[in-house]
Symmetry: C2
Subunit: 402 residues, 2 copies
């Protein structure tokens, strides 16, 4: 049991008010929050519970299990037991809240069956709206505390990535290297489980890819995917043996108090072809160019467009962010409690950048049959520009085989 | 790229026909399958795709990405590209299928937003039904190949659990022990990612709990939960230091080709109180009693009821499967591609047991403030009775500190 709530009551109050403002703009006069990351963000606890968010005033955390734990972990004032989902309206009313006319639900993640049950059986006659975008927008702007945790997650990740030169040897498999890094991330405090919001998106620490594996697309929505060790989890490290002279990419997530950072670094054993070295120079040029371009007020779409144009001007139009049918229309993504947060640096996205956003930017070039060359850092946008949170040096490391 | 499809075409054909039979009984004349585990089960690949399942004949796998990989991995005949979700009806019709009058969707897992988009925009005028229970019923009965993989997963898990006596030392934390076991599971071929079907249910290998942690409930729907290392993932191993004389439970999953087994074993360093030893004897009595009771034709509810009565007769009515508000109304769950498959051995569940079902049965006693005592094995039901798949000996191991 955590004696001190992870989010103090003034932090939860500020988040509540930010969401209420967005609800007001949408005409939503009450929301029911259930998804794990959202629940944790607005209550500080991740028990089995529903959080009722009124249009004004304090929210009500209704806990199915475990009540005593929710009370110990949350700094919210109103933490009460809930018998069954059907009792939610009566419970809300019994605590002096009015039943909303337009109820917000997390429709991007809530399963259809539960959604229809809430709409038709639990709240008959109440109109329903999707409150998920509003929630994601609130969560998108990080507080100093959250940025500090991202910084710690970056430090955790750095402490592991810097061991790669000592670990990587010709003849070892991607999987063997991945396992050593996973082990060290856990030892460094990583919670293990990586959260993604989108349905059917799954992740296990990240992807260690070598040579042609780096050009293997998967169901994972990234420029790189990897084969994995089984079609039952067809992404990430495979049993492929790593040889000298191949690009080896380490794309991993650090995680502290639920907050994640994302980083990609490149290695090779012994040597790398001039062509791939040239590709790395191009990636670095795009990478540093992006750091200049990313500014408050700029749109995500224009950043994406700039990166694509830059890649094209360097002769890598076909290779940038995937190849052929596997090309991904984005170059970065928000990150925090989920790997796939807002903003998304995607084609024609008009969302404007604001101070407080945290995101990973990952220019990557894919060469079918050869591999991929890329780099990725996690940033926070400040009024002065982007600040890099990830701390590993971004030169490609050519390891001398011992 | 896997040269040989994981599921041969005759296996997929049999699964298809089993689902079609259940669709017919429900009046569903076409289903769209999208969830990762379901997609893998019916197509042998886990790319970003929709599988259209007609009422008769071969299904159509429509792939957004990656087509070449889906074609290499799947033994289905009809694997075609899909531009956008909106094109699904035209694509289906273009391949000679009729548009269903009653379309089955995986409503237990598909997010509301996608569900409404499919219903209102992609298939306007088409009625929708929940096909998820039919899918789960087909997946519930395992083929010899699946049982073989479960057997291998059990062997993988056994190879790791047998190292516990060499690893467990007073002064180490639950987390330290957990990390060592996770590392060994990965080295033994575990894919890392553990799949659960229910929304908001998350898992990372399993739970290593000592002393009072074993009595700590969480949002994880099990008799035991654990504190975890952060309220952001508040389950499983914590930073609690393990001392001599405490019950230490190892509840982990093995995994081969996506198929999982679940097992719990108990350890203690040096000694354990007579009271807890007596509790272990009671658990073992329930455990072996259940093995006798579980027979084809029996209902899940009656098995559950028998276990509760048995626990009560031994004086543990209050402690069985949780304590107080955290009591869970089940003693076992189906397992395969997901940890939470059918059947569920829950209160008043009238589902009848059949040969081919695979499940984990986990009688556990919870003692608030002290810990938990439990055991769990994964079984397959054969015409002759239950066969134990997990192979570790089920005596509690008292380790002599080195």
């Amino acid at each position: 049991m955590n004696a001190t709530p992870i989010f103090k009551s003034d932090i939860l109050k500020a988040r509540t008010q930010q969401l209420q403002e967005k609800m007001r703009a949408q005409g939503i006069d009450g929301a029911l929050i259930k998804q794990n990351a959202d629940l944790y963000y607005f209550s500080g606890t991740m028990q089995e519970a529903y959080l009722f968010m009124p249009l004004s005033g304090a929210p009500l955390l209704m806990v199915r299990r475990n009540l005593s734990r929710a009370r110990a972990e949350s700094s919210l004032e109103n933490v009460i037991p809930l018998g069954s989902v059907r009792e939610i309206p009566r419970t809300i009313a019994g605590h002096g809240y009015h039943i909303p006319g337009l109820l917000g639900l997390e429709m991007d993640v809530m399963p259809a069956k539960l959604f229809l049950y809430l709409r038709d059986d639990v709240f008959p006659g109440v109109k329903i709206a999707d409150v998920s975008h509003a929630i994601r927008e609130v969560r998108m702007l990080k507080s100093p505390l959250e940025i500090e945790w991202l910084r710690q997650a970056a430090e955790q990740l750095n402490s592991v990535i810097k061991e790669v030169p000592d670990l990587l040897r010709p003849g070892m498999t991607e999987l063997e290297l991945s396992i050593e890094l996973e082990y060290r991330l856990r030892r460094a405090g990583h919670q293990g489980f990586m959260r993604m919001r989108a349905w059917n998106q799954e992740l296990f620490f990240g992807h260690i890819l070598s040579g042609p594996s780096g050009a293997e697309p998967s169901y994972f929505k990234g420029a790189t995917g990897g084969k994995g060790i089984t079609p039952a989890f067809s992404q990430g490290a495979s049993n492929r043996v790593i040889s000298m002279g191949e690009p080896v990419s380490i794309d991993l997530g650090g995680c502290v108090t639920g907050y994640m950072t994302d980083q990609t670094r490149m290695f090779a054993i012994g040597f790398l072809s001039g062509e791939l070295k040239k590709a790395y120079e191009a990636v670095i040029e795009i990478h540093y160019g992006l750091r200049e371009k990313i500014r408050g007020g700029e749109t995500c779409g224009r950043i994406y467009e700039w990166a694509c144009n830059k890649a094209a001007s360097l002769g890598y139009a076909d290779n940038f962010m995937g190849y052929g049918e596997a090309k991904m229309p984005f170059i970065g993504h928000g990150i925090g409690l989920e790997v796939d947060e807002l903003p998304i640096f995607s084609v024609r996205n008009s969302m404007r950048l604001e101070a407080g956003m945290t995101f990973a930017i990952e220019p990557k070039l894919i060469f079918p049959g050869v591999g991929h060359i890329g780099v990725e850092d996690t940033y926070v946008l400040t009024p002065e520009g982007v600040e890099v949170l990830t701390t590993s040096p971004d030169e490609m490391v050519i390891i001398t085989p011992g």
